[in-house]
């Protein structure tokens, strides 16, 4: 029992670890503004460079204990995100902003480094493994122009580069994205490609199931035959000849015989059970159940 409990505990702990790591892998550096002169201000009213992290996943992720750095191995340029702050829990598809002002004593979201020194920024997990990193040219950064991930309007693929406008705490695409369905329609206006592809997938799924159960069915039949042979060989010779099935007896006939036997037995039971027993039931008197003292008695006029 203890062993089993320990095993379950180990599995739960390791699963928890995996899930936690998996959660941090959903975090990416979404947008960075290196040279902030007139745009987004921090909670102290200052214009400083900032980093936007985005949770790409569909579950909340706590980034407490993870790291942000602009130079790996340099403790003075590596910021450990405090653990006991509820605000470090990023909602699914949510954002969080860190201000890179080299004044980490101002609160959880102020880092101990600035962004215009190294041209490198990384987000690392608790074990200091890099989860996401970016490289940028510090000299090429324009004032109040952020860099981040956005969809290429022609190819539809995501690219990292200067954005058309700053978008802290929101998606980087300012223009309306074309719906996936309409993109698909542009490539397949008649719907023929969809029909062929989808029918092939439906068939593949059911063919896979068919093949699996054809194989399983055959092996089950083989196994049951083997079992049957084994059982028959273990029987005495006299019994063997007695249990031989009638040739030509099919399932429906067996079912009909079974139903007939059952009905016959039920009928027998009905006839046999014509026994009526009448017993006198004696109940001891109690004033609590006496009709005389019942509250339903109507008052009599005398």
């Amino acid at each position: 029992m203890m062993k089993r409990l320990l095993l379950i505990l180990c599995l739960a702990v390791s699963a928890g670890g995996v899930l936690r790591a998996q959660g941090l892998k959903d975090i990416r550096i979404n947008e960075v503004l290196v040279d902030n002169r007139t745009s987004y201000v921090d909670d102290h009213g200052n214009h400083v460079g900032w980093i936007e992290l985005y949770n790409t996943g569909y579950s909340s992720v706590n980034i407490g204990g993870a790291y942000l750095t602009v130079k790996q191995g340099d403790a003075t340029r590596t910021y450990r995100i405090p653990k006991n702050d509820a605000r470090t829990l990023i909602a699914p598809q949510g954002y969080v902003i860190f201000f890179a002002d080299s004044t980490s004593n101002r609160g959880t979201f102020h880092t101990n480094f600035v962004l215009d020194e190294t041209g490198y920024l990384a987000f690392m997990d608790q074990g200091k493994n890099v989860v996401d990193s970016i490289l940028y040219d510090v000299a090429a950064q324009q004032p109040d122009v952020s860099i981040g991930w956005t969809d290429d309007p022609e190819t539809g693929e995501e690219t990292f580069g200067p954005l058309a406008g700053i978008t802290p705490m929101q998606a980087n695409e300012i223009e309306e994205k074309m719906l996936a369905s309409e993109k698909f329609r542009q490539r397949d206006p008649s719907g023929a490609v969809m029909a062929i592809t989808a029918m092939s997938v439906v068939f593949s799924a059911l063919i896979l199931l068919y093949l699996s159960f054809k194989f399983i069915g055959k092996s089950m039949i083989r196994a049951s035959l083997k079992k049957e042979q084994k059982a028959v060989s273990a029987m005495p010779e006299a019994v063997k000849t007695a249990v031989k099935p009638e040739p030509g007896l099919i399932g429906e006939e067996i079912a009909a015989i079974a139903v007939a036997l059952r009905r016959y037995e039920e009928d027998l039971h009905d006839i046999e059970s014509h026994v009526l027993t009448i017993n006198r039931v004696a109940r001891a008197y109690s004033p609590w159940s006496s009709k005389i003292y019942g509250i339903d008695n109507q008052p009599n006029r005398k």
Binding site: L179, A180, S181, E182, F184, R185, P189, S190, G191, A192, M194, A195, T197, A198, M199, V201, V202, F203, S204, A205, L206, I207, L208, L209, Y210, S212, F213, K214, I216, G217, M220, I221, S224, I250, G251, E252
Partner: protein
């Protein structure tokens, strides 16, 4: 003077009250929809066409088409109303997977396991979905709308609601009503097509009785089925995952209480909620449009194409099967899911030509394969056209 103002006050109040009543706000659209609702209730009670679905939907149509002044938090589309809270389960696709859980817990896949080649018929009958998709695109519907309309051909109400809530929520009411109506009309739509496509000789083909399936196979089926289909089409997970989970509850033999709940009280509650709210979502203003008319036309066409697909596939498949192993093409129609109505149609048509040829159990194979096939198809459409 005082009396005069008193009566004026009462008169103004009465006038205000009357302006809030349904009589003051009724439009011809409301009356038409109420007639639809009454027709559904009539079909459910008098004709016994899918009463479990048509009755709640029919009454829901009445509920949804009571005229009222907006802003009182009454209507299904008004934030904060009770109906809106219940409708949330439809809008976010919560109810259909729960119904699939119940269907899984009710369904016996033995016919399919004993003769797995019948699964392919369930795939062929999904042709109706994609035929309707192509036709809807040609009629000018957007790709997402066409996908949602196409799924009517899957002849599976919860799947249709699930997909339309994701791809085209505005059309969901019309799509759900079309799907359920045609499912109820399966005994009318399918037999002429089945007779048209088959010869007398084919209609009397006798199939081998299904072999007995062991419990181990029944337990393996939902596990392997879920893994294979969901690895291939992960977007079908909400439906397929729940369908196979429900079936595992039933077949495992150790969770009888859970299986009973899923296949009994749970599915009953969800059916009531889904039927009533889908019916209520068909408010005249959103339902009585040319688009709805198009959806009904395309829905009928998709059922026809699906039946063609299933029956013709069996005839084609028979070319490769040995004598004695051939499949009666009258079970091809059952691939459109609509469990168990389409399987019953196979039985009824088959028995007209051979009084001792019972096709029901054979038809249940493609019938339940159709449920899997339509859920896979919905997953594919969602994967390509979603977001």
């Amino acid at each position: 003077m005082e009396n005069h103002s008193f009566f004026e006050f009462i008169g103004a109040n009465l006038q205000q009250f009357l302006s809030y009543t349904g009589f003051a706000n009724v439009t011809p659209g409301h009356l038409i929809m109420i007639c639809f609702g009454l027709a559904f209730i009539y079909l459910a009670i008098a004709k016994k066409y899918e009463p479990m679905l048509l009755l709640p939907i029919g009454f829901g149509i009445l509920v949804g088409n009571i005229p009222f002044v907006p802003g009182l938090q009454i209507g299904v589309y008004e934030d904060g109303s009770v109906m809106n809270y219940l409708y949330f389960g439809v809008l976010k696709g919560v109810y259909p997977p729960l119904i699939f859980l119940g269907i899984g817990a009710m369904t016996d896949f033995s016919a399919l396991i004993s003769n797995p080649k019948l699964m392919l018929i369930g795939a062929a009958a999904q042709l109706g979905i994609f035929g309707a998709y192509i036709a809807a695109l040609a009629l000018g519907f957007t790709a997402a709308e066409a996908g949602a309309i196409g799924i009517i051909g899957g002849a599976d109400g919860p799947t249709a609601i699930f997909l339309s809530s994701k791809l085209a929520p505005d059309l969901m009411g019309a799509i759900a009503i079309a799907a359920y109506s045609y499912m109820a009309l399966v005994p009318v739509i399918q037999p002429p097509i089945m007779k048209l496509l088959t010869t007398k000789k084919e209609r009397v083909i006798r199939m081998k009785p299904p072999r007995q399936v062991s419990q181990r196979e029944k337990v393996l089926f939902p596990i392997i089925g879920m893994l294979l289909t969901c690895f291939l089409v992960p977007s079908g997970l909400p439906l397929l995952g729940m369908l196979f989970f429900g079936n595992l509850l039933k077949e495992s033999g150790v969770t009888k209480r859970l299986a009973n709940t899923a296949s009994g009280p749970l599915i009953d509650i969800v059916t009531i909620l889904i039927g009533l709210t889908v019916g209520a979502s068909t408010q005249a203003t959103t339902f009585l449009t040319w688009k709805s008319l198009g959806i009904f036309g395309l829905g009928a066409a998709s059922f026809v194409v699906a039946t063609f697909g299933g029956v013709l596939f069996v005839k084609f498949f028979n070319l490769f099967l040995k004598e004695g192993n051939k499949i009666n093409p009258l079970i091809g129609n059952a691939g459109v899911s609509a469990v168990p109505d389409s399987a019953r149609v196979s039985q009824e048509v088959g028995i007209k030509y051979d009084k001792t040829n019972y096709l029901l159990m054979h038809a249940m194979g493609p019938n339940v394969a159709g449920v899997i096939g339509s859920a896979v198809a919905a997953g594919i459409l969602l994967g390509f056209l979603g977001s």
